[in-house]
Subunit: 393 residues, 4 copies
């Protein structure tokens, strides 16, 4: 509980779990703080279920596994994808979580040795890591349900209680009893649905790309020495070139990182709507007035459409080569329903054998679902007169 | 509304939707009356959605489609499977629904011409029939959610509101817009889960087989002239050999059929616990005290296990050849996740083309899911001393 | 668990908790079996909460209290009010529950000594009885929520989990911590709402009065020696004059009582629609076709209205004096929001004192709410041509 | 819909409905944006119900009433109570809403004449105002349910759908049909419960008082010319003395006001944790590390307790007279279950008469509930070593 009270954990209260998704789903303003507590709660239940089935879990391991899941997202910054692409380069949020755990350990106030071993999969009992990070981990179990609840997309709701009851450990690895296979199938389908319908909703994607572009532009300006409003922590990351290496080696940098939350970005963007740089000002105004990029998505590349869009934009505005990424751009995204390269979902058959779920006879999940689906998209600014007057008041 | 007040429709108040499933899920005591009203409600919503998309639906068709779905289950008897195997032979409940509609039409109080045409798929606008009976019909849409709710198996919950919003009509046939494909996938997976986990729950299957055996035995005794307690309607079906043909040709027979509900069966079985025939008495006692058959299920035939079970039973009791079906028996059941031979689920792609869902790129539902899965089972009486004293008080 | 498997307990599967209320709320078909299990579950939680607060509860008491609540309704017959007024006279369902517990005790298969002492309030630890029967007992806690759920009247939902957490024992009596007072208030208001809105819904009241009249008429006919269809158990209670004394003294009578469930009444009423007695036939037809009595309710007596109604009916039908109770009648019903004569709800104040909730400063529940509210009603048959043809087909 | 897209309305996305309550209820992070949309939705339903009952509502009035409720909260600043006590003085959020509507009207992009008349109760049809602001308005109807949902305090859930169905207009005023009286009672009790249990939860109150103190201290420092980090808008309100009059007379001031949201306050407080003023730094650190004031509440004044607390604090720290309000203080709060001075809740009796709900016979709400309940509280900093080390890392 002392971990929860630490200011670095309390910081998660100000980082929304779904970033900009609330622009589409107004209820989706729940935070990583709430999610982390929820995942730790599920971990407690899962460990009790396994204990009840005779799996050997010591009191120390029980605590460590809950610490690991509680802290699994502590390395997230505000609008993670934006940050990972712009403010800090070359380091994943998992690695930052690990850095923060190390620092907490060094502070002498917490004993996180076991939790860290579990988190980065060096602990002998592999199933503990798999509860923290795998295709059936407590992280996904919590966020799928939580995101469904707060977005109101009831179809993402999963029967996590039943899945938890069906967990077993076989040869040190996490598995699911055969009679729980339909619940696992439903979980995988719910994840698939949430991915394509919610997380990759065009307007959600659009808002994320807008945030990324705002920070990219701000960073360009900072590099040129232009003055920008910002909290000290945000200014630090705008004016310095921080890499993963810098974050690991210098505690001061980590302190700055842990001073960032959503508010640093959104209040600055609000102030920047009045910045003298026309592009930064335009992007921030788009965000504040919810005039997002228009997005088109397809199974095929959209090169031609992008050219047409650019031609149309040029009728309204001069845009030079370096500026195009802020006006019109293309990208791809991909996802697989079941990822065979990730930690697999193993089913304990009634005859005692263990099978990858995609190898079970008559299972819904089969090899065709392990192929990632790739989507191409383009994004572009709406032409000025699409919706002219209201917010220009 | 006058239809709802008719005594033949009111009769559905006394027929539980899930038969004996309440022996396993105590809340699952909801009735076909409730389900029929619910399905009619969904039909109203679906027709409004389609109307709103420009599909031509006349006021008469609106009424007729709702009549058709309201009456789609009116031909169900108590414990349908039991009845269809024993009391009335050679006629499905759909055909009986049709007979009843005809009779209501002949009474002169209702105009069901269009509803009947829709129900048995002779109406030109095919999509109206498909709303009543197809793989995405209002019947399934209602009962899946209703059964989930009343059993408490939350995993069967489907996002029917979204599916309804995505319905379209293409060339006179029902289809679903491409962006609704994930909701349809989730619907199919929920159905799959409910089938294997709930409808085919061992104890549910066991109770249904017990009811069938009780009626089979009662009918054997009736044929031998033995006296059996029963309401006049039940006695009629026990002592006469009624076929589908008889039901169609004689209004008196149909009247008797419509006088039957769950109470006729359960009160008689309760009285028969004291019948002098030891087998009938035993079977009814098993039902009343919830001492069901033990069931084993497998992907392979269980012939050897059945022999072993019989040998064991013989150690406790003399059983002759004709009696075996009441003590130990085998059977099979099968289901396909997506049935290609049934009315297919068509997806209206963004490019305007129409595709069977199993042909859509990257769809979850593919050809492997159209193969029916067959399960073998055996059922047998527990040996007398498994649980000896309590209910023999 | 053996108690649950006993046939007398399994019988509760066929007795609906809310009697005829499903004629108004089609989902309200849940059974006393389900309710009894639910109440026993709440009892387990309540005992754990109290134990956790240091209240001394032995393992034997834990079992006994759950037995007592599990069996608290076992003495209910089908449509209790009907039965208590007609088939068996001079004994409450609580007394019958006690008789059944005694009989189970005598059978030697169960040890119910403590459970019986708790049930009839002879056990030294009074709070155990209060958990079974008082204004905050597990019975009401369960049925209010369950009835809300199955009727869909969401306003009856109570926060039972919070109330359970707030329970304490002071001087051997059940009380609620002061900070739980608002939850108790909401519970009392929910009960008040369910009483007047659901339990006393005109159509629900009407259907209950109809059932009572059907059984009254059947019993009149039986006394005259007229032949009536019925299960042996129902015929026993129709043709014999059974009193509470008879039920207590003769185990055979109790056996007959325990053979009765809703099906005995409804199947007989269905058969009686064709009985030669015009009144019995009429009443049963009203029930089967859902043509209930019309009910008027008022804070004042409705004598004049009753006369007017009778005069109107006489225009259509000859009715002699003895028959009037089956055609038009008056009655009263009363309820108090908080009953001071019943076991009071005590609040443990923060200063350690104990107060009756109606004495707490600023409490919602005050003395004015302890006065019973009385309502007068009349019920009468609709005149024949109100809705003439449909169900006379 | 254009109103919703306006940046001043979009601003509500960044203002949490329940302010600091998420420190206690982690899910309670929903925004005024979400609430305003919800209330507008309820308004639409209410108007349709009334229309369906024959109340004359023109299309223009339909739009205006929805505009009025949509904008009823647009004058809220971040942490309203804090702002109203510190940053802007002498003007309520309702008055600011009115100012903003006027400004939007003047912009020429919206027609809000009728909406403004409804909002400030100058429109002839009084019931339209009462739907916006009264004891049964759409505002409370929405926020009670929404706050219950997001806090997880299920007891606050109200049956708003039923209340909406029971609305009527009598002599131009809003009333409720008699048969809806129990639903209204339940609504009033839910509000009472939410007030005392959630809105006045000690830790919620404590966090609000902390925010107020932070802004008071910041304003003191600003007045002394001390430099303080902040967005331009926040600095404007810290360094200028803005009154309601200033807000009304100068559009620039209103623009600044509309540039404020929660992020301005929380990011500044975060930066201020490092400010050189020890009191400001201490208060902000308390907020960020969730080390709230300790609160005691009572029906009597707590003067003695406050003295004791002060004496104890002095053992650890020198505190001068001017600083005491930041360390230890007292206050009062009051609420009445039913406020007779506010717009009353009128019940349309079955006999056609109209009664104030507190005058209805046997109603739950009676005159004793109209007396406001007053509570006294003290708040104070925990002594330094209560919980020493964790967050001082």
């Amino acid at each position: 509980m002392q971990l929860v009270e630490h200011r670095w954990f309390q910081r998660l209260r100000y980082i929304r779990q779904m970033g900009m998704a609330s622009l589409v789903y107004p209820g989706a303003v729940h935070t990583r703080f709430h999610h982390s507590l929820g995942a730790a709660h599920l971990m407690g239940t899962a460990l009790q279920v396994l204990s009840g089935k005779g799996v050997d879990i010591s009191p120390e391991e029980y605590i460590a596994a809950r610490q690991a899941i509680l802290l699994h997202d502590i390395g997230h910054g505000p609008f993670s994808h934006a940050l990972e692409h712009t403010l800090v380069s070359g380091i994943s949020h998992e690695d930052i979580s690990m850095l923060i755990m190390k620092r907490l350990q060094e502070s002498g106030h917490f004993d996180l040795e076991r939790a860290m071993a579990i988190f980065d999969n060096h602990y002998p009992k592999k199933f503990l890591h798999q509860l923290v990070s795998s295709q059936l981990d407590m992280d996904r179990m919590d966020y799928l349900n939580r995101d469904s609840f707060f977005t109101g997309v009831s179809e993402g709701v999963i029967g996590y209680d039943r899945i938890l009851q069906m967990l077993v450990v076989v040869n040190g690895n996490l598995a699911v009893e055969e009679k729980g296979i339909h619940s696992v199938e439903k979980f995988i389908v719910a994840r698939r649905l949430m991915y394509w319908q919610v997380y990759l909703h065009k307007a959600v994607l659009s808002a994320e790309l807008l945030i990324i572009n705002i920070l990219k532009r701000a960073k360009q300006l900072a590099r040129q020495g232009t003055d920008l409003f910002g909290t000290p922590a945000l200014r630090f990351f705008l004016y310095e070139q921080i890499t993963g290496a810098g974050l690991s080696s210098d505690i001061k940098v980590l302190e700055q990182f842990c001073a960032l939350d959503d508010g640093d970005i959104t209040t600055s963007a609000k102030v920047w709507t009045n910045h003298s740089d026309p592009i930064l000002s335009m992007l921030c105004t788009m965000l504040m007035n919810r005039k997002l990029y228009k997005i088109k998505m397809s199974n095929q590349p959209l090169d031609q459409e992008l050219e047409a869009v650019k031609a149309n934009l040029l009728r309204y505005k001069k845009i030079n080569e370096a500026e195009w990424p802020f006006y019109a751009f293309s990208g791809t995204t991909s996802n697989s329903t079941y990822n065979e390269n990730d930690e697999r979902i193993n089913i304990l058959m009634k005859d005692g054998s263990l099978k990858n779920i995609s190898d079970v006879d008559n299972a819904l999940v089969n090899s065709s679902m392990t192929v990632p689906v790739r989507k191409y998209y383009i994004g572009y600014q709406r032409v000025p007169h699409d919706n002219p007057t209201v917010s220009d008041l």
